[in-house]
């Protein structure tokens, strides 16, 4: 496949995914069993109040007109307004922009933790294959994969906040070093996965001809591993890390709840509890679009760098 048609195909499937996500999010309001107006207004609402909410959510218009308004709200960057009293409340986009930095910070923190721990662990395990270090790394990664985020969080809070008092606990998102514990909690599962990948990738590379050649021409072992081994072994690891960045976004929902941090996940859960449908729709859409965009960029970058990826 040529590079042009690869990019067109990849972008096409991403646009399809975003369009699919938007349609699903739009129909969300209509899939609510029973009457969303009733859910929002409550039992003792007067007919006037009900009518006001209905027109605020545009439920009195035709389905086509509603979809048009929905797309318009995406296009004008407001993502809709909250009902009732749209004038007094910030638009959904304003709410999202307020908390987005917290979620982005957390996702980046989780990624840094995952990579910073996974690479040394995987490299040492590969170089000392069969030793107790290798076995230990296998146990660590197995525990990391099996450990639920919502359990690791409280455990670390008990240890580092309650017992040792070294790091800030929940509900202090702006304290110095407050990002450390949530990042560890978020990054652990990915760390486990990446360390296994690093190990198997490096083990494979170690048997390549060019490694033997490098050794044969008298390069010191350190240089052979750093210059020839790691360089080739880490490419697939970095790609998977990039592709998992989107999955980390999903994990932030749990980490934010554990640490009572503001963010997209907290906003989504609050929206669900308050039956604030425009907020739920807006956050789901933003998370989905971010996920698709990151995955697409990683795929495209890798496809450009390595032509073998373009064959399907």
């Amino acid at each position: 496949m040529s590079i042009g048609s690869f990019m067109v195909r990849r972008l096409g499937s991403s646009l399809l995914a975003i369009a699919g996500a938007s349609v699903l999010v739009f129909f969300f309001l209509h899939l609510v069993p029973g009457d969303p107006v009733h859910q929002l207004a409550g039992g003792e609402a007067t007919a006037d109040q009900r009518e006001e909410i209905e027109s605020c959510l545009h439920l009195d218009r035709s389905l086509v007109a509603q979809f048009g308004i929905f797309l318009g709200n995406i296009a004008n960057g407001t993502l809709g307004h909250q009902c009732p009293n749209p004038e007094e409340n910030p638009t959904v986009m304003e709410l999202i922009l307020e908390v987005l930095p917290y979620t982005v910070e957390l996702a980046i923190g989780g990624m840094i933790v995952a990579i910073a721990l996974a690479l040394p662990l995987g490299i040492v395990a590969a170089l000392r294959r069969g030793s107790w270090v290798d076995a230990g790394a296998a146990v660590v990664s197995l525990l990391g994969i099996s450990m639920p985020t919502m359990f690791l969080g409280p455990l670390l809070i008990i240890l580092f906040f309650v017992t040792l008092g070294w790091l800030p606990g929940p509900a202090e998102p702006d304290a110095p070093f407050a990002i450390v514990l949530p990042s560890i909690v978020l990054g652990t599962a990915l760390m486990a996965m990446l360390s296994r990948m690093t190990r198997s990738s490096l083990v494979e590379v170690m048997n390549e001809d060019y490694m033997r050649t490098a050794r044969a021409k008298g390069l010191p072992e350190r240089r052979v591993i750093l210059k020839h081994g790691l360089r080739n072994a880490l490419l697939p690891v970095i790609t998977v890390a990039g592709l998992q960045f989107g999955a980390l976004l999903g994990g932030t929902i749990i980490a934010e709840k554990v640490f009572a941090r503001p963010g997209l996940g907290t906003m989504l859960l609050e929206g669900i509890n308050e039956r604030n449908y425009p907020v739920v729709q807006g956050t789901v859409l933003v998370i989905a679009i971010a996920y698709v965009t990151v995955n697409t960029l990683v795929d495209l970058a890798y496809g450009v760098a390595d032509p073998r990826i373009r064959r399907r």
Binding site: S13, S14, L16, A17, I18, G20, A21, L24, V25, F28, L31, V32, P33, G34, Q39, A135, A138, V139, L142, L143, I145, S146, M147, P148, T149, M150, F151, G153, P154, L155, I157, I158, V162, S200, G246, A247, L249, G250, G251, I253, I254, K257, V258, L268, L269, I272, N273, V280, V284, I287, A288, Y291, V292, N295
Partner: protein
């Protein structure tokens, strides 16, 4: 983990641990509630947040509920939900995967596009969005929400298997003598992909247990106080007074997920020691 090294027919210690954990979970989930000393919903406000005692082996929670009984009933709920999700996802996914792989063309393209769109969502976000639609989600809601994207992995696996099996001699032979497609899929294709399917289902089971617990933790599970995720959520509020309320459900969830992973690793090594990459 550490598999491969063990010879054909021999079972590694980690696989044995996996079997023990999985069997223990099944036994507790099926028979546990029968032996539960108390009701999982019975409040005893005179005896809240008590430590382990002869009457309450694992102590009581903030409402005076017996933690052991809640855990036993929670195990059954976890098994009902996860078992149903794995079963429903496998049936739907394998059927669609067989159809996509066998017929190819337009229907294949259609099914795989749906798969792509579902994979374009972070899985848990889709689950949350579906559960959020319902005011008071019950077990069926949760099973539905987790199956909506749960079948995707099975479909991809089954389709891939069909593509490699459909040109084998016994399949082309069956087709040549006019065996109807449905019979070819049922008698020739399906039996030959059972091994990788079981391996995948084993990993998937652990995944479903974890996601179900996560949804319950977020307050989006079945509206029961005694699912493991809900117990963990309530426990975090009282982590200061009794860390036990976090440790017990947390360790339980971890052991089941660990067991499913080890069990899956063991199965994979047994069926096909050379392959390492079919973890979902």
């Amino acid at each position: 983990m550490g598999g491969g090294a063990s010879g054909q027919g021999r079972v590694s210690p980690s696989a044995k641990l996996g079997v023990v954990l999985v069997v223990a979970f099944l036994a507790v989930a099926i028979f546990g509630p029968v032996f539960a000393p108390h009701s999982p919903t019975e409040h005893d406000l005179d005896r809240i947040l008590e430590g382990p005692s002869a009457e309450h082996w694992l102590g009581t929670d903030q409402n005076g509920v017996d933690v052991l009984s809640a855990m036993l009933y929670g195990a059954r709920t976890a098994l009902i939900i996860s078992g149903s999700v794995v079963l429903a996802s496998a049936v739907i996914g394998v059927t669609l995967g067989l159809i996509a792989g066998y017929y190819g063309g337009f229907i294949d393209e259609l099914i795989m596009r749906v798969v792509d769109v579902l994979l374009a969502f972070p899985g848990i976000l889709l689950n949350i969005a579906i559960v959020a639609l319902v005011a008071a989600p019950g077990i069926p809601t949760l099973v539905f929400a987790l199956t909506v994207n749960g079948w995707v992995g099975y479909a991809r696996l089954a389709r891939g298997q069909v593509l490699s099996l459909r040109e084998t001699e016994y399949v082309t032979g069956a087709r040549a003598i006019g065996v109807p497609p449905r019979l070819i899929m049922w008698r020739h294709l399906l039996p030959n992909m059972l091994a990788p399917l079981f391996v995948f289902a084993s990993f998937a089971f652990g995944g479903v247990v974890a996601v179900e617990a996560a949804l319950s933790f977020l307050g989006l599970g079945p509206q029961l106080n005694y699912t493991w995720g809900a117990l963990l959520d309530q426990g975090t509020t009282f982590v200061w007074q009794s860390p036990r309320l976090v440790l017990i459900p947390g360790i339980a969830i971890m052991l089941v997920v660990l067991g499913a992973n080890l069990f899956g690793d063991g199965l994979r090594d047994k069926f096909d020691p050379k392959r390492y990459s079919d973890r979902p």
